[in-house]
């Protein structure tokens, strides 16, 4: 750490170098008394040091809410969101997926989670004015094989789904080239994937969307009921790393989760997203998809005549009320129904 760039007394800088203090984090981790002892400076000098490094670290960090509201620059604005490619779904989410933070998509199997994720991988490649981020996507598969045939179908039908975009723009985008598929079937590989592959792709600006399909699969077999503390630590670490990548690169992270049944004593069963409150605490927004079951049918049975109608529900989000809308899965993709 180059202490000379800070606005410090030469005596303080010399003391920092002598005490072998290498970062602002180290300074803030030590108590006032420890700093005095290590650096042999008075408490007034230490207070001055703390204020100076804090000021340098947090220079230009204040923004008023009015400035946030009026910021229309697509590189920094909060109003910028990742569209889902359908105006009905976008209006449920007030624009689309927020760019900073982890969004979870939970639901029972074959409710449409993978369909929505694939659609997002295509939407992100459109220009800013059409709700995209002009960049590619990373799709991290943790259990199933990547549905490349379905992806190809969706690519071929983009002109039908995105009637709002001129045909020549759609033709120019090489959709397949910008989707990076990663496989991570266990926790260590996943850890490597986040710290190496994802950071690299994000730092190079090649992707602006990360899909993890699914986060629950990583934890399904590995942890018994007595290892909940270890599991919680993994979840917190992954959550923090993903959150940090998301904030640094203004990239939405979409995590797919499965549903599980929790048995409550005496009160009956409750269907809830897997991974519990430790994971929920890391999320900005939780969406849930489900199939609509007709009366007289169990929800797991696929019914061709039900018209494959599904619901997309906002479970929680800081800017959205709990609400839902209907959608179907067509050949060209996921489309909301008003």
């Amino acid at each position: 750490m180059d202490w000379d760039q800070f606005d410090l007394n030469p005596k303080t800088i010399a003391a920092l170098k002598k005490a072998d203090i290498k970062s602002v984090k180290e300074i803030l981790n030590l108590s006032g008394a420890d700093l005095q002892r290590l650096m042999k400076l008075s408490s007034a000098d230490i207070q001055c040091l703390l204020k100076t490094v804090s000021r340098t670290l947090r220079r230009n960090s204040m923004v008023t809410a009015l400035q946030l509201y009026q910021d229309k620059d697509h590189l920094t604005s909060q109003h910028q969101k990742l569209s889902l490619g359908c105006s009905v779904l976008d209006s449920l989410l007030r624009g689309g997926i927020p760019l900073m933070g982890i969004t979870e998509l939970a639901g029972e199997s074959s409710a449409g989670k993978t369909q929505i994720s694939l659609q997002l991988c295509l939407c992100v490649q459109y220009p800013y004015q059409y709700g995209g981020l002009e960049s590619g996507a990373v799709y991290v598969c943790t259990e199933d094989v990547f549905p490349s045939k379905r992806l190809q179908q969706l690519i071929d039908q983009q002109h039908k789904l995105r009637a709002d975009v001129p045909a020549e723009i759609i033709q120019k985008i090489r959709f397949g080239n910008s989707i990076f598929v990663e496989r991570a079937a266990d926790l260590d590989t996943f850890q490597q994937c986040i710290t190496r592959r994802l950071s690299l792709l994000l730092a190079r600006g090649m992707v602006r969307l990360v899909v993890i399909d699914s986060i629950a699969a990583l934890f399904r077999c590995e942890f018994g009921p007595s290892e909940s503390a270890v599991k919680a630590r993994y979840l917190q670490t992954f959550g923090a790393q993903l959150h940090s990548l998301s904030t640094r690169f203004r990239t939405p992270i979409m995590c797919i989760n499965q549903k599980c049944v929790i048995l409550y004593r005496g009160v009956g069963n409750r269907v809830t997203p897997a991974l519990g409150i430790t994971w929920s605490n890391q999320l900005l927004m939780r969406l849930m998809v489900s199939r609509i079951s007709l009366p007289g049918q169990s929800s797991g049975v696929a019914s061709p005549c039900a018209g494959s109608m599904r619901t997309l529900r906002v479970v929680f989000a800081p800017h959205l009320p709990p609400s839902f809308c209907y959608y179907t899965v067509q050949l060209e993709g996921v489309k909301g129904i008003k």
């Binding site: 602002v24 981790n29 204020k51 947090r58 008023t64 946030l68 509201y69 409150i277 605490n281």
Partner: protein, 367 residues
């Protein structure tokens, strides 16, 4: 002047040298002078000059204090404290049930902690308070400004706009019902843009940035003396990963709590923190408890726990020095944080006042 050398705020090594050379009181140091001092204990002239400057400042400070009047060691009676507390402002939450169990609202000069599961409404209440702190005094507010420190990235300005617009609307309705001159005047400056421009937003990405920001808060609050609310949303997020050494975490959190208590007191501001819930695994079953451990529980003066009961949101006052533990339901609408049933609106002067503690206006006071 008779202060012992060992109590002066000098570097420990310097203090040791002075003691070895036989200096005992501050007066002796001042009498020796810088040249004599540097020769006696073997330091450079600049260091001696600096040390004497520190000593002089300290003695000057001591004299001012013993002469009486400094805020550092003020003595007062419990009655004075009670009177002071009763005139202390409250920031209303717009949910009158919650305001009632809190004794009027979120109290200034105290730390209030809000705990709850994700999605229950902690950030919503923080955004509501950041707007409500700005309500003009004639409507029963404290006419302050707000600092919002966001560690999770959940501050969505569109939502704040909804809440602020609804608050302005509410004030307009009261002004129309009451037709008082100062209401109309206050509304000229109480607009959406004005409210948004007085919410100072800081985004902290990890605990180092959060600690640095809190070190800078006293200076910021001195420059922006109208700030009456500091929100940290949430305090748990940056501290729940990254810490192999939990004792370091406890020490940092304690230090943070101390600084926030001082800030709340010195600047007459309310400090509101949000905390996560974690599972505590007991013998036969597990329960949800606030995160960050037992010792953190002592940091806040007032603790609220938000939770669900089927589909109804409930707020429990879990810890308070002056109010009893109770639970009330609340609602989050498109306008923000509200009661479950809106209270009956009467058109008498007391009924439409938002703050029940405010004295009703009488004819004599108007003229």
């Amino acid at each position: 002047m008779q202060r012992e050398v060992g109590t002066l705020p000098l570097a420990p090594a310097l203090r040791a040298r002075l003691a070895a050379a036989g200096f005992q009181t501050a007066q002796e140091l001042l009498d020796t002078g810088p040249c004599g001092l540097s020769k006696e204990i073997g330091i450079s002239r600049e260091e001696a000059l600096e040390a004497l400057q520190v000593v002089r400042q300290e003695c000057h400070g001591d004299a001012a204090r013993t002469a009486g009047g400094s805020a550092a060691a003020r003595k007062c009676t419990a009655l004075e404290l009670l009177e002071e507390e009763q005139t202390q402002g409250f920031i209303i939450t717009f949910c009158s049930a919650l305001d009632n169990i809190l004794g009027g609202g979120v109290q200034l000069t105290k730390i209030t902690e809000i705990c709850g599961a994700p999605g229950v409404g902690k950030t919503q209440l923080c955004m509501q308070l950041a707007v409500d702190v700005q309500i003009p005094e004639c409507f029963g507010g404290v006419a302050g400004e707000a600092v919002f420190i966001d560690t999770e990235g959940s501050f969505m300005v569109d939502r704040v706009v909804d809440i602020a617009a609804a608050c302005v609307q509410h004030c307009h309705l009261i002004a129309e019902a009451q037709q008082e001159e100062d209401h109309r005047k206050a509304l000229e400056t109480f607009s959406l843009e004005n409210i948004l421009s007085h919410i100072y937003y800081f985004r902290c990405r990890d605990y180092v940035e959060l600690l640095a920001q809190v070190y800078l808060l006293p200076e910021f609050l001195s420059e922006h003396s109208k700030v009456r609310l500091v929100v940290i949303d949430g305090i748990a997020f940056p501290f729940r990963h990254d810490f192999e050494d939990l004792s370091l975490r406890t020490r940092l959190l304690n230090g943070l709590a101390q600084q926030l208590i001082i800030i709340a007191n010195d600047h007459k501001a309310a400090v509101v923190l949000t905390n996560q819930m974690t599972t505590r695994i007991g013998q036969s079953h597990s329960t949800l408890v606030p995160a960050l451990g037992e010792s953190w529980g002592h940091a806040a003066t007032v603790r609220l726990i938000f939770h669900w009961d089927n589909c109804q949101r409930l707020a429990t006052l879990y810890k308070s020095p002056s109010q009893k533990e109770s639970t009330v339901p609340y609602h989050i609408t498109s306008h923000g944080f509200r009661d479950v049933q809106p209270p009956a609106v009467t058109h008498s002067a007391e009924g439409t006042e938002m703050n029940p503690r405010k004295r009703p206006r009488t004819e004599e006071e108007k003229h």
